[in-house]
Symmetry: C2
Subunit: 402 residues, 2 copies
């Protein structure tokens, strides 16, 4: 018998309870053991829930109950969740989470705590919702030296961009629609400013490259500056605008991670990832490119990833799981300002600037105001080099994914 | 120290040796142990290989050496490979393979042998080359009741179809080009007749649904009957022709697996899987659709999947790995003749037939001979029901993926 306690009965937490109850026969058979939900910690009583008899309000009950083997943390944030996760690990309980903010900010420390207590700290659900990505990177691609990760990591912004591209909605209208459909929160900042994608690329690059990359080390740009003019110009070049989280590993082992909109060729598999779907492409020396695709959020997909981790923790209750990475630091990273790429440039009055970029590919759109110029450079530039070349001008600049 | 023996120094076997040697520091660190290549079994001496000093010719040396922990079987086929795999497992050695033919035909038996000997039998590389798919299905999606699998499982046929669609090559010319590029073998039957895809869908459905599905239970149709006329008609409907391996699970637990060309909407992520790439889409009750994409073959991608399994076997040298399924049998499957779908129908003289399909969507192509008719039915039919409706006619029939 494996006893499970869920911390936080919100969307994901209640989804976890549902999946465990609904698929219990199947789950128990797969782990050759019985998984029992023993407690649900929440500040509310939730009398209408079928799980109301499991609700408790004091974390110490879970912490001090030697029967509890696995704690599912779906509280979110990095305050209470951090405290409870530390205490659960120290009490010898494996912890499973979907909390990307916590893993991105404190993953190294918590993995160390887990190792010391000889338990598991698992977070498959923290990136890509139900898409398997943490375990494939840590296990299936383990024979590779991984060199890069490129992902559409946030479903909300991908939905907004898809609606701008397909339906011609403005950013504001597309955001409003996403909110009406429940894809965006009332305060959408974490999504549209790129913070959510930032946390996810932190987790992926820490795992893939072996040292903790912290959110503060990841330059992050959202999609609030993307206009319908940019969408139209990109379309004339057979490209789509996508918000990407990227991480590249240099030969010296240092890593550069950043989040920014990119122009992506329609031929790229990433360009066809639409609506709220996510996709993560991983590059390795032996494997080439591998891509993982699916719903990046949602109650049941995310819950199913949490439950898969619970099952894994249950199977390994007496042996540790091998997720780990080393501490980060300023010497773990190099600056995105040294990463060259081709660029999309849009200027309100810029026909002269075009001459400075021989071979540039000019973009077109209907109804462009006189003098407006947009193009993609033929050569790759770092951002500082490009800005120097555009001295005095204040263009829209978007990287091109090649 | 984990000692490894490779059986068969062909493309994949030599790739495994290369990956182990090239990435050994990285690999040893990841498994917290030293992985050493001890023997390579081959009929040849291979004096020019950097691994020639490891070559032996007698399997009994490996079988009887208690130091050998993991045997990598990259011989292929189901004769010698079967004998050696049985003997290695019985001798208490974990076995890792890329041999889809063997797993599809004897997976149940070999997994049982592994369980009895308390060792691992792992075959991540048998499906999708380097794409992680076996472990994600068996572990990451474990909390789901899986309901279906749809995959582009064979890179050779996908390359041929891509060249027919993009370059307008005939099937014969595209095949010839694939052979020149090394994507197709001199005897291409296993690919173009769909047998390779058949073996892979057997492995995937056995794993996903829990009972062994044997190749003889999987109706298999290749791409030799696909013409440029079909490609053009599909294009007029914004669809592409793809060879798919499919498996669906009914509520009673029975499974239907089959391999056949399908018309796939250009909006489907599968339609954009081009050239030698593979993609596997898995449907589960909680997760929805998840897709895995990458190079489905090739020396290094496949070798890296084998080495990841070797690493996994090395980590679990004292605990078993939890891949298993139950024996199959006639009661494990239901007939593809009961699976309804929309159909693409092409008739040399068929304008009359169109009237029998109200609402059908008519396809067009330039230069069609007079009387030729092609359409997609509006309703779903089983194959027998469709053939009855087309009584007396001998049309081209291709399923539509909806």
């Amino acid at each position: 018998m494996i006893n499970v306690a869920i911390l936080g009965f919100g969307t994901v937490g209640s989804g976890v309870a549902e999946v465990i109850r609904k698929n219990s026969a199947h789950i128990d058979e797969k782990v050759s053991n019985q998984i029992r939900l023993k407690y649900i910690l929440d500040v509310r009583d939730i009398p209408d829930s079928p799980f109301h008899d499991l609700i408790i309000h004091d974390f110490a009950v879970i912490e001090n109950d030697p029967e509890v083997d696995v704690v599912v943390e779906t509280i979110g944030g990095a305050k209470v969740a951090l405290d409870f996760t530390r205490r659960a690990l120290k009490a010898g309980k494996s912890v499973v989470t979907s909390n990307k903010e916590l893993v991105a900010a404190h993953g190294y420390e918590l993995l160390q705590l887990a190792r010391e207590a000889d338990v598991s700290y698992l977070f498959e659900a923290s990136v890509g919702g139900g898409i398997p990505i943490i375990r494939p990177i840590s296990q299936c691609l383990a024979a590779n030296e991984l060199t890069g990760i490129t992902g559409i990591l946030n479903g909300t912004t991908n939905y907004i961009l898809t609606r701008m591209i397909r339906a011609g909605l403005s950013f504001e209208d597309a955001l409003k629609e996403a909110q009406e459909k429940g894809y965006a929160e009332r305060d959408p900042s974490a999504d549209i400013e790129g913070w959510d994608a930032c946390r996810k690329i932190c987790i992926l690059s820490s795992l893939a490259f072996g040292r903790h990359i912290y959110p503060g080390q990841v330059p992050t740009e959202g999609i609030t500056g993307i206009t319908l003019a940019d969408v139209a110009y990109a379309d004339s070049l057979q490209k789509k605008i996508k918000l990407l989280g990227r991480a590249v590993r240099r030969a010296d082992g240092k890593v550069c991670a950043y989040v920014a909109p990119h122009l992506v060729s329609e031929e790229s598999p990433l360009a066809n990832v639409e609506d709220v779907f996510n996709a993560i492409s991983v590059q390795g020396d032996a494997i080439g490119d591998v891509m993982f695709y699916g719903r990046g959020a949602g109650k049941l997909p995310t819950a199913s990833a949490v439950v898969a981790d619970v099952m894994d923790a249950a199977r390994h209750i007496k042996t540790k799981k091998y997720i780990s990475w080393a501490e980060g630091g300023p010497d773990a990273v190099f600056s995105a300002d040294t990463v060259a790429s081709r660029w999309y440039v849009r200027l309100e009055q810029g026909s002269g600037a075009l001459d400075r970029f021989p071979g540039a590919e000019t973009a077109r759109r209907d109804g462009a105001p006189e003098g407006e110029t947009a193009f993609v450079t033929a050569d790759a530039y770092t951002r500082p080099a490009l800005e120097e070349k555009l001295m005095g001008l204040k263009p829209q600049l978007i990287r091109v994914l090649d």
